[in-house]
Every structure is written in C-alpha cells, then in structure tokens.
Symmetry: C2
Subunit: 320 residues, 2 copies
C-alpha cells in the first residue's frame, strides 16, 4: 500500500510556501462568463513565480529535505516547468541542482532553468528514459530525486493553488485542471474535497495523450508513447501510483481536448483577457467549453497551469 | 478659472464603479525587481474590463449623467480604449452611444466598440478634427459629449486605479503612468498626493509626441501634429486645461520613451510576466528603466494602462 497525501499535507505545504510563492490572482471575464453561461474563476498560475504552478510543488519538496540532503543537492527530470521549479527552489534554498530535460523542450524553459543556476542534462525524449537517467544521477552523485508528480510533497504543494482559489471565491460546482502526470489534478482534488466537498473535479488531457483517461477506464496505469501535442506540459507517458489512486478516488471525469481547441483558448486568453497562457494551461477552458450545457448557472474554477511559451511559438500558433 | 477635480471626486468615482469595474490585481516580478534594484508594483489595468483603465473614467462619466441625458445618449471620440469604455459603460447603463474613431485605429478596438452595441463613425486622424466631429454630433443629435480626458468625472474615474494600488501595497516613493491627454496621470496624481503625499509622480510620453513635457516646460498647452508612434493610446495632439493644471501642480517630471524601449518592455511583460500589455501601457516601465539609479531600494508603482493590441501587431512588434 502506498501512503497518499491528504489535505493536511496541502495545508502544511501552504505554510511552507507562504511568502515565497506568489498568491496568484483569480481572474474573471464577463466575455467568458457570457459565452459559457456560467461564473468562471481562473486561477492564474501563469502569473506564479517561474511562470507555472510547478513552483509550489518543487519548493515544497526541496524545503522538506533534511539540511544534509539539501547540501548534497537535488536532481529532477521534467518537460520544462518542473525543471525550472526545482532549479529555482534549489537556488532559493541553497541546494545544488541537476535538471534532466528533453532536447526539444522550449528554448525559453531551458534558458530559464540554466538562469536559475542549475546544471542541465539534455536527453532525447523519443528514445531515452528520463527516469533511468534521473535515477542514475541520483545514485552516482548522491542527489535527492525530486520527481515531477508522483511524490507526496509535490502533490501537496500543487494543491495549494486550488486551496487559495476556493478560500478566495468560495465553494465551486466544478473544477477543471490539466492532467500530465497528475500532480496538479491530485493536489487540486484534495483541496477541493476539503473546502468544497460537492465540487465535481474534472481532469483534462491532450487528446493525443489520454493515458490517464484510459487508466481510470481500464483500472490500471496505462503506458503510452510520448504523445505529439502542443501541450508540452502534458506529454507524460504515464501517471504515477499516487496520482492514479487519488484521481480514481476523487475525479468525476477525465476529458480530452484537441490541439485546435487549445489554440482557440490561447487566443481568447491573449486577446480578451490579456494574459499569456501556454497550451497546457488552456486544457481546462477547452474542456469547459465542451460541456457548457452542464455548466449553465454554475460556479466553475479553472486552473491556468502556466504561461511558459516561446513568443515565436505563441505567434505561430495564433497564426498572427 | 476652471474647477479642478479633487481626491474627493476620486473617492466618489470609486464608490460609483464599485462592483462594476474590476479591482485589478497588483503584479510583482522578482526578475524586474532584480533588474532595477527596486520594489516594483504593477497595477494591471490591462486586466481591467475592456482591457484598459479607460473603463473607470468612462463609466464614472456616463453614470454621472442625469436620467434624461442618459436616455438621449452619449458621444465620444477616442483613439481606441476610451471609445470602448464609453461604449461599454453606455451599454451597461442603457444609453445609446456614438463613437468617433480614427480610421486607422487597431481593428480589435473598432470591433470591440461595435461589439458593445455602439455606432462607430470613422474619421481620418491626419486630416480631420475629431473634436469638431464630436461637437457636431452632440449638437445635431442631442448627445452628451464624454471627452477622453479633459473632464472632471473622467479624471476622477481614472484616479481610482492608483487609489486601489496604494491602498493595497502602501505608500510609494515613485509612481509612473503614461500620458496621452493626461486623464490617467492627473487622476493618479490626485490619488497619490492624498494617499502617499511624498510620492514623486512621473508622467511618461512617447518620444515622438512629447507635447505634455513641452507644455510644462513652456508654461502653456503646446499643440503638435498627431505623433507617429506605436503607442497608439498616447497619440494625442495636446493635453487639456484641466489635465495641464493638475500636471503642472503635481508632477515631479515628465519623461519620454522611444518605440524601441516600449517593444523591449512589451517583450518582458509577455515572456517573463505572462501578460499582454499594449505599447502605451509599456511607457511606465520603459521610463523607470531609464532612471533606475534613482530608484535603488525604492518602492515604485507602475500603471500598466491597457492590453488592447492586435495579436498580429503584437507578434510583429516582438519580431516573433
């Protein structure tokens, strides 16, 4: 049996990140409300430090290490935002950091990670196994491995965003959050269950990589090839045993969104709400639009997970 | 003698717009703080309704009309954001609206104005006089003219943004805001003087259109040709007698910023702070960077006036 994090872990994480992570704003848009016939509350984690919710979990995990472990250093593998999160957390807490990143990660993310003082080790995400590389570096150099999602402290840290959201706006009828490895949706579900027990929590995956949806349907963790999608924050090959167990227990549903739907949402955020949201961060709104008939008159939370997208790529995607 | 608005008018405006305008978030960025060696507080009016601070003044002005005047309708002329502000305010308050806009205004702004139900009358800003067109429409159709800046209720409404800013973050050493016709900087100065008396208020104009700077230097309102600058919200030909008087009394300085500096700031906002800020909204940060030696260790407020920029134009400007 694995030990799952609880809402008490989310509360402990909130205390640990207080004054270090941003308490990000909750944004609203009358245009979006009118379009969906609902009251939408966007938790703007694109405005979080290093541009994504991942800072919450990364910082909570590094801050939970013993002084000796911190001094020895940490290693993390990530498609991008977790890398920056651990790199920044390590810098703030005085720990050396090695980050294993795919060679095709957005240049902005690689540059930002190096900018935080971390050593970056690149690998080929289509042929190499990042988990094996991370484990090897951990063993060889005595580094503490901070996994991107399947970790009690990481999940608990990610849950602090929805804790803040519900504490600020009150109970929700629905909550949408992206699903990559499941850290964000799991932490979000723990917070929602504690603070808004009747809230229906819906995870959203890219259509090209619906392994979590299939995992819940099949009752086992399904492994897939790295999906080809613009949602580079959700290109995971499988969820973890912790995130699987929480999703299975807590989620009302997992939906998927196609890349074209993400681009449409990204354009809406930029032109109407004046914010830069990366494709993965658009999964929630895209899914909410799919089921707007069910959302009529409801209070709906949507987690905008991040905003780390190259401006060149952003422009290309918006066809501008 | 003209009657100038006071901070009491700003307070009255704040009560009038409460629950209608967004209380926009104050954003911070460690990266920007590190770059300038100061504590920067960005008042994100790009996240205001219709994407700019102008909603505050427009709504306050239309809401201050008598019921009979509202029924007859309003007319406004504007390079863009004021047009949308009055159009939206009129819609919310049940007043017909006619908006006089330059034929080369950003397409997004014209479309948004029509989207709010207003009749749009286009004119050539290089050959025609929008004030004369506005006055004629007002006389012919019995419409109340809502000028873009030189109006007590408009100035008072614009001042509510800085009122919120200082109430949220506390006293400031410096405050930067864009100067077009001077409505925002005047209202901002009234709020700053009342809530943070020692704050040095700095207005910022596009280099190509420094009529306000020249006006204060020459002691009279200087008229210029429509300046060619990417800061389309600050392409005014002259300030007004109300805004001149307040600026003369309250401002520490007026600075200018070149288009290239605005593009650099726009890129910073998009890539690091994940927000879309229109060129005019970048004037404050551009000027702050110019005098960063004076800002060391200081608490600095910067008003991001709006985010209404076509995505095509945005991409072109960022060279992406």
């Amino acid at each position: 049996m694995v030990t799952l994090p609880t809402y008490a872990d989310v509360e402990a994480a909130a205390a640990r990140i207080a004054g270090v992570a941003h308490k990000t704003p909750v944004l609203t848009s009358r245009t979006a409300d009118d379009a969906l016939g609902a009251s939408l509350f966007f938790k703007a984690e694109n405005l979080q430090r290093m541009g994504a919710f991942k800072f919450r979990g990364g910082y909570n995990a590094v801050a939970s290490l013993s002084p000796a472990q911190r001094k020895a250093g940490v290693v993390a593998y990530s498609s991008g935002n977790h890398a920056q999160a651990v790199a920044l957390a390590a810098k703030l807490l005085g720990a050396p950091a090695v980050i294993v990143m795919p060679h095709d990660a957005p240049a902005a993310k690689v540059a930002a990670t190096r900018g935080y003082g971390a050593e970056v080790v690149l690998y080929d995400r289509y042929t190499e196994d990042r988990e094996a590389i991370g484990a090897r570096l951990s063993a060889e150099r005595g580094l503490a491995l901070i996994p991107p999602y399947n970790h009690v402290d990481v999940i608990a840290g990610q849950g602090t965003a929805v804790k803040e959201l519900i504490e600020e706006v009150g109970p929700l009828d629905y909550l949408f959050a992206p699903v990559g490895g499941g850290g964000l949706i799991s932490g979000s579900a723990l917070a929602a269950r504690a603070l808004s027990p009747d809230c229906r929590v819906i995870g959203v995956e890219p259509e090209a990589g619906n392994d979590a949806q299939r995992s819940l349907a099949e009752g086992r963790i399904v492994h897939i090839d790295t999906p080809k999608t613009i949602a580079d924050g959700a290109q995971t090959q499988h969820i973890g045993d912790l995130t699987y167990a929480i999703m299975k227990r807590e989620l009302a549903e997992i939906r998927t969104a196609a890349d074209a739907e993400l681009v449409e949402a990204m354009g809406f955020f930029a032109t109407r709400m004046k914010i830069v949201v990366e494709p993965t961060g658009c999964l929630g709104l895209a899914a909410a639009k799919q089921i707007k008939d069910r959302l009529k008159g409801k209070r709906v939370g949507i987690v905008l997970s991040g905003g780390n997208v190259d401006m060149k790529r952003f422009s290309e995607l918006l066809g501008a």
